[in-house]
């Protein structure tokens, strides 16, 4: 059912659209960064970095819209959870954007095709992360808690992959000191990807809260189910 106040309904819809747009841009940035890495496409990397400006602007716009709704409408229940979730989600999205920029910057510094196996692993990791992000955003827009929960579970996969890559790179660095520079950059990229996955997981947890009112964050640390 729609809100009786049509203006309110419209405000919420516009907010949703803004988040959709920001999500789309962030996805664009991540896939751009990953493609740039895979093909060492420096032009694409530079173009992707330029997108970050719009992300920042969108973040500020959405924050302001949220505050306005809080002030004027005193939202409760599902509306309130939607607003607070949105406020947190845009922070995570903005961070993903920044991480994509960092990734592109590392790509710009890379010049050689060395350490192929690791690069392949990273590309695979990136696909998973990209997919997680996509699923999380879809879950938010469709208020699908089950989908969000699946995203949360996939974080383990990413963490496992990261745990594998790190000693691999360490091995390479010990073997051949000339590869340290490249290995370090790849290590950074792996770190960025892992953190992108974390942000996507945060997104998922927020969506579960928004839909069900259950707070699933910090599950392992606080021992909650």
């Amino acid at each position: 059912m729609r809100h009786t106040d049509r203006e309110y309904e419209q405000e919420l819809q516009q907010l949703r659209d803004a988040v959709l747009l920001m999500g789309a841009r962030v996805e664009q940035m991540t896939s751009g960064a990953l493609s740039a890495f895979e093909r060492l496409d420096l032009e694409l990397a530079k173009a992707t970095i330029a997108l970050d400006e719009e992300i920042d602007r969108l973040e500020m716009d959405i924050d302001e819209r949220c505050v306005r709704v809080l002030a004027r409408r005193q939202p409760v229940a599902s509306d309130l959870r939607f607003i607070t979730t949105t406020l947190k989600i845009v922070t995570d999205l903005e961070r993903v954007g920044d991480l994509a920029v960092n990734l592109c910057e590392r790509v710009l510094e890379l010049d050689a095709e060395t350490l192929k196996p690791v690069r392949v692993s990273l590309v695979q990791m990136g696909d998973v992360v990209s997919d997680m992000l996509h699923e999380a955003l879809d879950a938010f827009i469709q208020a699908d808690a089950a989908r969000a929960e699946r995203v949360i579970l996939r974080d383990n996969v990413v963490d496992a992959t990261y745990a594998k890559i790190f000693p691999e790179l360490l091995g390479y660095m010990i073997q051949d000191t000339k590869s340290v520079a490249v290995a370090q950059k790849l290590q950074s990229i792996a770190k960025y990807l892992e953190r992108m996955a974390d942000h996507a997981t945060n997104l998922g947890e927020m969506v579960v809260y928004m839909v069900r009112g259950e707070d699933k964050r910090h599950a392992n640390k606080l021992g909650r189910s």
Partner: protein, 293 residues
């Protein structure tokens, strides 16, 4: 004709505790009370309403309400116009029957004793369960001082130290400093918010156990409303409070527990925090977010 202050009713016939009942868990689509997060210890429930039905003539306004009122807590009743919330609160102190043609059935257990029974004197009930009304109604023929003492005097109760009592009652409602020099002025000479606080003082002077408030702030401006809400907050320590309000934000501000009524039925009852952040019933969610259809 004076008698020593006697505000007790006839002793309960049975022991206080009723059968141990698990709180009703919600089944999808059912409209029973959900007291899942509320405590069920009997000592902490001041009033237990069971299958309360009320009607005006042929029109049935309450269709079977079952609800606990927690002791020393504020319970708010919200719902759209005509949902029966005012009728409900008036059943809690037998004021409902004052209206010609009004009838009520079901049990209202005050400390375990059903006040709806034939042999219970409504006048006695009302001394234990006081009421504050929507429109402030101090007695116009009486001064501020006399208004505070009115309840005691009209009941023929002896007042040992009237000045002290007046001061205590007025301090309790944060009105003392404003009126202490003009106690002999007419009760109606005060502003709306002050009048309402005077009415509350008048009710409190009788030392009831429960205070019912029927939309106490709807005739007041925001500042006066804030004063009364703060008062409600403090009163919680000494009294059990039930407040009917059509202002949801007010319920969110003052109440520990909230019950949502719709068309004479209880749709949902829970902690206020839960009702306003993650209500369980669709109808509750729709009402409080403004999706009236």
């Amino acid at each position: 004709m004076t008698a020593k202050a006697d505000v007790s009713m006839s002793p309960p016939l049975l022991g206080v505790s009723s059968s141990e009942d698990e709180p009703a868990t919600r089944v999808a689509g059912e409209t029973r009370a959900t007291g899942r997060t509320a405590t069920t210890k009997d000592e902490s429930i001041k009033i237990r309403v069971e299958e309360l039905r009320a009607s005006y003539g042929d029109a049935e306004v309450l269709k079977g309400i079952t609800l606990p009122i927690q002791s020393h807590k504020v319970t708010a009743i919200i719902g759209p116009s005509g949902c029966g919330k005012s009728t409900f609160i008036r059943c809690l102190n037998r004021m409902h029957e004052v209206t010609p043609g009004a009838r009520a059935a079901g049990r209202v257990l005050l400390d375990g004793l059903d006040i709806n029974r034939e042999d219970v004197d409504p006048v006695r009930v009302r001394r234990r369960v006081g009421m504050v009304f929507q429109k402030p109604n101090p007695f116009p023929t009486m001064s501020i001082r006399d208004n505070v003492l009115a309840g005691l005097r009209l009941n023929g109760l002896r007042i040992k130290n009237p000045d002290a009592l007046v001061e205590r009652a007025l301090r309790h409602v944060a009105l003392w400093d404003e009126v202490k020099d003009v106690l002999s002025r007419a009760g109606t000479s005060l502003s709306g918010g002050q009048q309402q606080r005077l009415c509350i003082a008048r009710t409190l002077a009788l030392e009831p156990e429960v205070v019912l408030m029927d939309e106490p702030c709807s005739a007041l401006d925001p500042v006066a409303t804030a004063h009364v809400e703060e008062l409600i907050h403090e009163l919680r320590e000494s009294y059990t409070i039930v407040i009917v309000t059509h202002n949801m934000q007010q319920a969110a501000r003052v109440a520990d527990f909230t019950a949502f009524f719709y068309m004479g039925l209880l749709v949902e009852y829970d902690l206020t925090d839960v009702i306003f952040t993650r209500p369980k019933e669709r109808r509750t969610e729709d009402y409080i977010t403004g999706r009236f259809g």
